[in-house]
């Protein structure tokens, strides 16, 4: 093929100029970077309205086989804002702090209140922080939790990541909240975000995640108990792995739930447009995992009834407690908004009716068997 002269020259110039551009590549070498794996945010001790930011930096080592423990460096600094503190921390190390691999943001329990949005803003606005980072509350302080190096932690892994996201641990006690989800639910009217709460033991060698915090922008956060967390997470949000202990007089049954489905609808009294009750249906399938007595397969119906009764009580207790605190972790308010056409003051109407809302709960437990022994 014969190319015209000008095209040839154009191609030559193009190739040469692309070589010039190559040297302008802006990436820094990997040994000039420090990878931040988690961030902890506490209220500042010496500054009013400030934050204390602690970074967990993964330190590189030659070969994974040679090191028996993962090694981290911790950097902390107080500042007026999170961004400012991180800016200053950059001057404390010889390398670039790389936040692109940061996957856990731990926030002190006390900060999970009204000004949450103002400091979480930094994380959303920065382009390099992943929106699928996990956010968690911490007790007693975020810094303590961050510095825990559990004995089960393997080299080249971070224990804090494994709890969430259902890639490793899949316990029904562990709520996972992503950064984008937190933002979405903080901003949405009609739902309260729920964050996991990370605690540690006295010796600081274990991380314990079995509670959750319901965040509201007006009041202090409400910490859910372990049992409530389990109910919220598995029955209302569909997490798997729920086991449930049913007690009836001297019979104890441990039920392993394999499948749970929830749906609900608003019930309106005739003539009214606003609902006054919520009717919830739970469909639960499972097997009996443990019993303190001999149980009979033919009695499954009876066990179903016992289990339903207990679960019903617990769910109702959870829902009414949330209602009394004016919290809505399930998102009833959001559902209210989507079931009618938008108009001015629709959400105010919901806020008015929610405290008096009644809950009717139907639990339908269908036990499949008694495990491998009767």
């Amino acid at each position: 093929m014969k190319l015209p002269l000008i095209t040839k020259w154009f191609v030559v110039i193009l190739c040469m100029s692309s070589v010039l551009l190559q040297s302008g590549c802006a990436f820094k070498d990997i040994d000039k970077l420090l990878f931040v794996s988690a961030i902890a945010i506490d209220p500042a001790e010496h500054l009013e309205n400030g934050y204390k930011v602690t970074l967990k930096v993964a330190l590189p080592f030659g070969a994974i086989k040679e090191s028996n423990k993962p090694s981290y460096a911790y950097l902390s600094r107080e500042g007026e804002s999170v961004g400012e503190a991180i800016r200053m921390l950059e001057t404390h190390v010889d390398k670039v702090l790389e936040l692109g691999h940061m996957k856990t943001i731990i926030v002190n329990e006390k900060l999970l209140t009204n000004h949450m949005q103002s400091f979480m803003d930094y994380f959303i606005r920065r382009g390099d922080i992943q929106l699928i980072a996990y956010v968690a509350g911490a007790r007693p302080s975020a810094e303590t939790v961050l510095k825990v190096e559990p004995s089960t932690e393997a080299p080249a892994s971070v224990a804090l990541f494994n709890f969430f996201g259902r890639t490793a641990n899949e316990s029904p006690f562990i709520v996972t909240t992503f950064l984008f989800q937190l933002r979405r639910e903080v901003l949405a009217k009609g739902i309260n975000p729920v964050l996991p709460l990370i605690e540690t033991n006295d010796k600081h060698d274990e991380l314990i995640v079995n509670n959750a915090v319901v965040v509201d922008h007006q009041s202090d956060p409400k910490v859910l108990s372990t049992v409530e967390t389990k109910y919220y997470n598995s029955l209302l949000k569909g997490a798997s792995g729920l086991t449930y202990l049913v007690k009836d007089e001297d019979l104890k049954l441990l039920i392993d739930v394999s499948q749970s489905k929830m749906n609900y609808r608003f019930v309106t009294k005739n003539g009214n447009t606003t609902p006054d009750a919520i009717e919830m249906h739970f469909k639960i399938k499972g097997v009996i995992k443990e019993a303190n007595k001999k149980i009979l397969l033919s009695n499954l119906e009876e066990y179903n009834r016992l289990a339903s009764k207990e679960m019903k009580k617990k769910i109702k207790h959870f829902l009414t407690e949330m209602q009394e605190e004016k919290l809505d972790p399930v998102g009833f308010g959001l559902r209210f908004r989507i079931t009618r056409l938008h108009k001015e003051g629709l959400f105010a109407e919901w806020e008015k009716v929610y405290p008096d809302m009644k809950f009717t709960i139907h639990v339908d437990v269908a036990l499949q068997g008694t495990g491998s022994i009767e």
């Binding site: 000008i6 095209t7 154009f10 191609v11 193009l14 100029s17 692309s18 551009l21 302008g24 590549c25 802006a26 990436f27 820094k28 959303i124 382009g127 390099d128 992943q130 929106l131 699928i132 996201g165 259902r166 890639t167 992503f178 984008f180 989800q181 933002r183 979405r184 639910e185 901003l187 949405a188 009217k189 998102g331 959001l334 559902r335 908004r337 989507i338 009618r340 056409l341 938008h342």
Partner: protein, 365 residues
Amino acid sequence: MSRFVYFLLLSNMAANLIAAGPRILFSKSEDGAIVAIIMGLFFGVFMNWALITSLKAFPGKSLPEILTQYVSGWIKVPVLLFLGGIWYTAGFQTLITYIDILLRFLTPEMSVYTVISMFVIVISYSLIMQSRNVLYMLELVFILFFPVAVYYVVKIYFAEQMNWDYVVLAMTYIDNPPSYLVFSTTAFYFVGAFDIIIFNSLLKKRMKFGIKQALIVFSLGTFTVFTSYFIPIGVLGFDDIENILYPWILTSDSIRMKYGVIERVVFIFLILFLAVAFLNIILHWHVAYKLFESVFGMEKLSAGIRKYSSMAAVIIVFWTAAFFITLKVTDYDLFLYSQYFFQLIPIVFVGLMILMLLVNRRARS
């Protein structure tokens, strides 16, 4: 319809899926977006029908050739110049958006000049390529990238991060009076096929636009617009969605592939759509270049000189404008001017169709 027409249509849809389009739709999310989107969809199909029908009588002829044959110079020149400007802006709008995205999310430390040059040099080369090769390139990129792009988009539909409650919430605003801005933005998703005003010279067969074609165009458009409007809402929430600058970047960053090659989808997504956007800019600018070239056909000069001088002139203008404007434009300007530009599209379309009616009548008589 030739398969290339579908490719042209789709490349514009895919590029605008994550460029300025969604943000403009969200700015009216509580103000009549839904009805306007539906109206826009029907108008988009109508636009494509009108275009194909008006070109039916002239297989193998591009718009400049048709105009030269049937209308006088004082109509032809301003019309072609104006259309060239529109096409240049259409490509330009995508270019700025993607340069901005690249700088913000992929290579934040790279100089803006380097990024612009990277784009502009390659695009300029493809401007002077033969139209036929541009179409082949289009087909190639489609075969390579499009299946993957579709895979990721469909994957998002089934991602657990997607909360359909917010989508329904967005739909509760259906009773608002429609907004013209949203209507024209939706229509813009469909203008890809208009590139055939130049590429028609390569499509020798008589094209048909019947019910089947209309349904295909409609469903492609519906899928695109539905995806670009509702998916970010489902992932990022409805309240406050209008304050997000690049809804699709944040959306793809919120998607997690638990056991995927990489957990963070955003990088794959950006690179995929960058390829499609690149293609889209090339197509629009190629059309703009051809339109301008047909105007500046200095007939007294010899063929060689005429070709290269017009080529050089157009490229220089394209480059300078690209550099100056990209450096100057802020996020807000981009948003504002894109709005004006989109609002212009239906008017330009009506003007063009009136002209085509006139030409068709003359051709028949």
